[in-house]
């Protein structure tokens, strides 16, 4: 049988585009966390010092509040949020436990070099209820890391320091023979609950935060964080 002529016509390829790789990772993380039962909460990027620092137990004397770490705007009356934690503050002030929210978004620090950018993305989670403890936090972190890096992923919890959690931990995941820091977490500092109108005698909470660029760099093996923000089509085309 003779093949019809149309069969030999050249295909009319039409390229599809892609969402930004950082937003892809953000969406994946958000989907993962919402599948655990978290809701998504968002908040403003231009924040008050009260929500960005004071209510999170970061005192006026804390180094993070110095001009070399934080961008101040509007004649120092506001800041560009340095983390997405103020969204958690707003959520706690506006609702009663049980609270289970994740807040993904852009954050700003006064840094600009090969490993730090003045703007980057975080996703943070907060769960406040009765009888929430550090052992629960570990379970959640295992679930998150195993979902992201596979069930065989080895984790290491290290004590750390964040003013808004106590106890606080950093979590490393073993890649080859190297431990890489993946996230920070902890039991919500009772002072923060109190600042946000939640009785720390009745309720406790857990919180965690991941740097989205860090996860994206690991996932896609991108070595230079600045590549994400050059808007180079050759770069963006690789994330279809």
């Amino acid at each position: 049988m003779t093949a019809p002529k149309d069969i030999f016509l050249p295909p009319l390829n039409r390229e599809i585009g892609s969402s930004h790789p950082i937003n892809q990772v953000k969406a994946e993380l958000t989907e993962l966390l919402t599948s655990f039962g978290f809701s998504v909460a968002e908040g403003p990027e231009v924040e008050t010092e009260e929500y960005n620092f004071d209510k999170l137990n970061i005192p006026a004397t804390h180094p993070a509040r110095e001009m070399h770490d934080t961008f101040y705007v509007n004649n120092k009356s506001q800041v560009l949020r340095t983390h997405t934690s103020p969204v958690q503050v707003r959520t706690m002030l506006g609702s009663k436990p049980p609270i289970a929210v994740v807040s993904p978004g852009k954050v700003y620090r006064k840094d600009d070099d090969a490993t730090h950018l003045p703007m980057f993305h975080q996703i943070e989670g907060l769960y406040v209820d009765e009888d929430v403890n550090f052992a629960h936090l570990k379970d959640l972190i295992y679930k998150i890391c195993h979902s992201l890096f596979g069930e065989e992923a080895q984790l290491r919890f290290r004590p750390s320091y964040f003013p808004f959690t106590e106890p606080s931990a950093e979590v490393d995941v073993l890649f080859g023979d190297k431990w890489l820091e993946i996230l920070g977490c902890g039991v919500v500092n009772p002072k923060v609950l109190d600042n946000c109108g939640i009785d720390p005698k009745q309720y406790s909470g857990l919180a965690f935060g991941l740097g989205i660029e860090r996860i994206a760099m690991l996932k896609y093996k991108v070595n230079d964080i600045r590549d994400f923000y050059k808007s180079n089509l050759d770069f963006l085309r690789q994330f279809k």
Binding site: L12, R14, E15, I16, G17, S18, S19, H20, I22, G37, F38, S39, P44, E45, V46, P63, E66, H68, F71, V73, N74, L80, P98, A100, K110, L117, P118, Y127, D131, V132, N133, F134, A135, H136, K138, D139, L140, Y142, R156, F157, R158, P159, S160, Y161, E166, P167, S168, V187, N189, P190, K191, S204, F228, Y229, K230, S231, N232, L233, D234, L236
Partner: protein
Amino acid sequence: MKIVYSHLLNLLEQQPKLEELSELLFQLGHEHEIDGEVLNMEITPNRGDCLSLKGLARDLNYFYQAKELPKSDMEMPALDLQFDNKAQELCPNISFMEIEIEKVPTKYKPYLESYFADLGINKNNFFTDISNYLAYESGQPTHCFDQSTMQGHFTLAKKELKTKFKTLLDTEIELTDENLVFSLDDEVISLAGTMGGASTACSANTTKVLVECAYFQPEEILGKARKYNLSSEAAYKFERGADYLCQEDVLRRFLHIVSEHTEIKTVAFYSEQNKTTLAEVPFDPNRLNAVVGINITEKEQLGYLSALGFVAGKNMTVPAHRSDVDQLNDLAEEVTRMIGYNNIPSQVLALPVMAKQNKRSIEDQVGRYLINQGCFEVINNPFTDFEGKDAIAVDNPLDKQRAMLRTCLMNSIRTNIAYNQNRQKDSIKFFEFSDIYKTSGTERRFALAVSGRVNKNAKEFNAQLDYGYLKGLVNSICTDIIKIQPTYELADKRGYDFYEALKLNGSKIGGLGKISKETIDSKIKTPVFACELTIGDLEVPDNSFIPISDFPASYRDLSFSLSNLDKVGILTELVNTTTENHDLLTESFIFDFFQNKKLNLLKLGFRFKFQAADKSLTDEEIDQIMDKLISDSMALDGISIEGL
């Protein structure tokens, strides 16, 4: 902070191997890298008490038993010091020790020698060398004044200053604003807690020294070294909180080290102690277990805490070096560190099921559509140089080019286009969703830009992305996703060759047009078409099912002749309105567009679909709608239908 493994072992009764010690330091939260015998420690900012051999040994006490190093028990008569502490709030505890030695030693004991050799630190002079070593060993900074230079009224005070100050490292700085300083008469001799001055510094010949040992409030020291661009280990330690009761012990240790090296002629001691009460934290073993999610006995908890220097009583008394502990959760962290975070068993966490809002996001829907059309999403940072009077200024920008926050997305998109045009990219389709920031508030914006080839295939390679392509994308977003028919209005806009404002339900939400080439920093002449819309108030309506009609559909085609291009919009609006107003007219679209400039011909073909849910339509019913449309269109200036 660098410490040497063997130096740390000198302060421990048990002698763990380096690997075991390293693992335990990680367990306790002291991250580090190992370089030979040197541990490069990253101590968390709340643990100023661990910035020394003694501090780390204290933290390891439960596991390896910390050793007390010998201190001098020499009798120290009172020092007749005319010292005026005018800043007791900022420096509540301060001690001085005056030592006179027979002669300056030429050789150091092995432990002191190895401090300099193993860490590659330069020696200075005898007393300063001991002071530096002692800061490494005990964590407490001390400062040595050459007693022969200490003539005048000696004060510590917070002063408003504008004066030059030469540090002991011979750098000259200008002190400005308020500073806590030691002075002799009016001369500043030391920037308290940060760095001493050259005029009273010890030298190789100093045989009589006045050693100062103090506790400064961290917030007073914070930022001073950075302000004056000084590298100060003392400031680093004071900023993170020092032991407020250690002064005499540290000075007795200082004296002991001196006595190991040379003969002491005289010694005298002066002390002011205003902060002496130890902090207390309410302690409840059950609540502590509840914070961590463990069930260990009170005895076990106390075993861990007492090894760290806490003293159990009605409340838990906090040792003077632990300024970071002020609540039960802090004690819980201490116990958890001792057990090891990795050794705490997980407890299954099941989040309560709560009602979720499953609103369809406009950004998801629009993004998905554009990606299918070959568009790539970009993310730009918000910093720019100037964006008009409504822009928010950054008070402490990275540089002049990033001193404001952007008030629109289009300038960033222009930069993205130029970046790629300059790199020979000939088909560019970008979009971005982002907040923009104005003094009047924040807005959520969407931007889209296209330039270059339509696609890379045999049919579309030579076709160029044009205004119609852009407008088609925007139109589809409005009609298919937001489900509102947009209207357009010609307008002037800076930075565009032509521009149409876009309205939804009568409200202007932005616009689209052809970007002026001179606003794009690229030599490529390919035109760029772009759109920016405010989308914060827009929602994707929920889909609701409309029963599908089993009755046949009828189609009508109509070809209009137009006198010029600006009639396209007018005619389209009429067709859209007619479609919206008649339930039986279920769909209408342009299926043909023909233009011949030479013959001055412009034709637009519309297809109309008619269908009813409950019956077959008659020709009369269809004609009634079509006739009205025809008569309405003929009434429009410059629009005709051939044969009518």
